[in-house]
């Protein structure tokens, strides 16, 4: 195929990527946008094979593509919607790892080249490796394979700064005097830095970090594109780097957290002393019957679904309850916090999966004024997003995050597994409020019992 046509095809692929991002920014065009992106990627891959580049090891290459695609597609199809954020984190991490490896191979193969392409090589390796190891840590946190609370290592701050400094020095040294061992050392240092960078980030801030690492991978791919003199990689990587940076800022804003405090808050040690005492303070717990009666005789009920609901796979039981209440003439709405679930928009996806009508999902700004005129708020498996400590307690890690004002309602019912604090690891005062009733147990179990009881009310 002539080089002109190859370039035209790459241009088409680049435009498709732009349309993909544009499409993904609006609900109506989002799905098509994603498909356009996939089409662009497919086109670019096919064209690459017929573009006349050297293709040693063709059988191995095809095999790796087939295996990788199968692993990606199957895990993406099989993953539970509740675990989707960590899968995205993992996909992002392996992309960063791939970019770093490509630069290493190109360095071994072709040698050093000029200063600028050396700098690009170093950038790809460093940023790609940070994204790789950082994403693995976010995965472990979200999967709850390790603690979701900020991990503060003794001397962590000092070690992190030293590793960062060593990485910068190594990077400059490599550009000045290229040596293979130095590139490997740099790779290892960056991997360590990625781990140190993400460890102190607290649970609720993890989505923001994933988004930031996503932008990192994008930039690293763009730099890799410079190393390989491939325009499409530069365009695609830069698009993701730029849009990812903006998206990270938007996410931080939606959670009411300045980006800097998310990333460096844990360094300052501000999270200490927030685990409340008083877990043995009295709370009022009720039976499913009590809850059914409260709900059945209310005239206005707001449901606040949280991650616990999704973990218990109780979305459809909740919808059943809502339908039943609506039949009885109760006014029912769902209040969706922007970060309900594990990520912005996660809860909307989970509820849509249980075919809850889109119109009943009310966003925070829309529903907050309505709590004061609400008889009963039913909080299912949510905690941090209704915690008034975000308004009042300056030492709380979630301080400043906008919350759902459930404490304004006449009565609050919590369905909880236990008194364990939420993802952010802090005590919730509403639980001890006299107008609060707690129903302990698995969310699905409790909801099923409430539904059964409601049928007899």
């Amino acid at each position: 195929m002539s080089q002109t046509w190859v370039q035209v095809a790459n241009l088409v692929a680049a435009v498709l990527f732009i349309f993909a991002l544009k499409g993904l920014s609006s609900p109506r065009s989002a799905r098509n946008g994603n498909l356009l992106g996939a089409a662009g990627a497919l086109l670019a891959t096919v064209i690459l094979f017929v573009s006349g580049i050297p293709l040693n090891n063709l059988a191995l290459i095809i095999a790796a593509i087939v295996v990788g695609s199968a692993v990606g597609a199957v895990s993406a199809r099989k993953v539970k919607m509740t675990q989707m954020p960590q899968l995205v984190a993992l996909f992002n991490g392996v992309g960063g790892g791939a970019a770093a490896l490509i630069s290493v191979v190109e360095y071994i193969e072709v040698g050093s080249g000029d200063r600028i392409s050396l700098a690009a090589t170093v950038f790809t390796v460093v940023v790609g490796s940070i994204s790789f190891s950082g994403s693995i840590i976010t995965f472990l946190k979200l999967q709850e394979l390790m603690t979701t609370r900020p991990v503060i290592l003794p001397l962590g701050k000092v070690v992190t700064i030293l590793v960062a400094a060593a990485t910068v020095v190594g990077a400059i040294w490599l550009v000045v005097s290229p040596q293979a061992w130095l590139l490997i050392a740099l790779l290892v240092l960056s991997l360590v830095f990625g781990v140190l960078f993400v460890l102190p980030v607290g649970g609720a801030d993890v989505p923001i970090v994933i988004s930031l690492l996503n932008a990192f991978t994008g930039l690293s791919v763009a730099a890799g594109g410079y190393v390989l003199q491939n325009v499409l990689l530069i365009i695609a990587g830069t698009l993701v780097g730029a849009s990812g940076t903006l998206l990270t800022r938007e996410m931080a804003k939606a959670m009411g957290r300045p980006l800097t405090s998310t990333l460096f808050g844990a360094f300052a040690g501000s999270t200490a002393g927030s685990t409340g005492t008083g877990s043995d303070r009295p709370v009022r717990s009720g039976s499913p019957n009590d809850v059914a009666i409260m709900l059945g005789f209310a005239s206005k009920v707001i449901l606040v679904p949280g991650y616990g609901l999704a973990v218990a796979q109780a979305q459809s039981t909740l919808r059943e309850l809502a339908d039943l209440l609506a039949e009885k003439g109760v006014d029912v709405d769902y209040a969706i916090h922007p970060v309900a679930g594990r990520m912005p928009g996660h809860m909307n996806v989970l509820l849509a999966e249980a075919s809850v009508p889109y119109e009943q999902l009310k966003e925070m700004d829309e529903i907050n004024p309505e709590f004061s005129s609400t008889d009963v708020v039913l909080v299912v498996g949510a905690n941090d997003v209704v915690n008034p400590a975000a308004r009042t307690d300056k030492s709380a890690p979630i301080y400043g995050m906008p919350i759902l004002d459930v404490d304004q309602a006449a009565q609050v019912v919590f369905l909880k597994r236990s008194m364990r604090p939420g993802f952010a690891g802090i005590e919730n005062e509403i639980l001890y409020d006299p107008k609060t009733t707690l129903l302990f147990g698995d969310a699905k179990d409790s909801l099923t019992k409430v539904v059964a009881a409601l049928k007899t009310v």
Binding site: I18, L21, G72, V88, Y358
Partner: protein, 102 residues
């Protein structure tokens, strides 16, 4: 391509990247991030290019790993994004269609 031409492409792409996502609703933050994540999976091409030119066993092995990881990122990314977006059906049809699928 000349360095300066690549730089031009880079700078213009930054502006386009900022521009296209400047008006995104909170609901779509996660799918947008996931879609962008899939797009940088195009790093797969880089893997194919270096492995196609590689001769030594170490380079080939590293290149193959890069292709593997890139393909997981690219294909997995688009598929998982599509799964999220399946949920965002047009408002009217939302109820019955998702009900049928469940």
């Amino acid at each position: 391509m000349e360095g300066i031409a690549l730089l031009t492409v880079f700078i213009l792409s930054i502006f386009v990247g900022f521009e296209v996502v400047s008006k995104v609703s909170t609901v779509l933050h996660t799918p947008l991030m996931s879609g962008a994540n899939a797009i940088h999976g195009i790093v797969l091409l880089g893997g194919i290019i270096v492995t196609g030119a590689a001769t030594g066993p170490l380079e080939v092995a590293l290149g193959i790993v890069a292709i593997l990881l890139g393909a997981i990122n690219l294909v997995g990314g688009f598929v998982v994004t599509d799964r999220m977006l399946e949920m965002f059906k047009p408002k009217k049809a939302a109820g019955d269609k998702a009900g049928g699928a469940a």
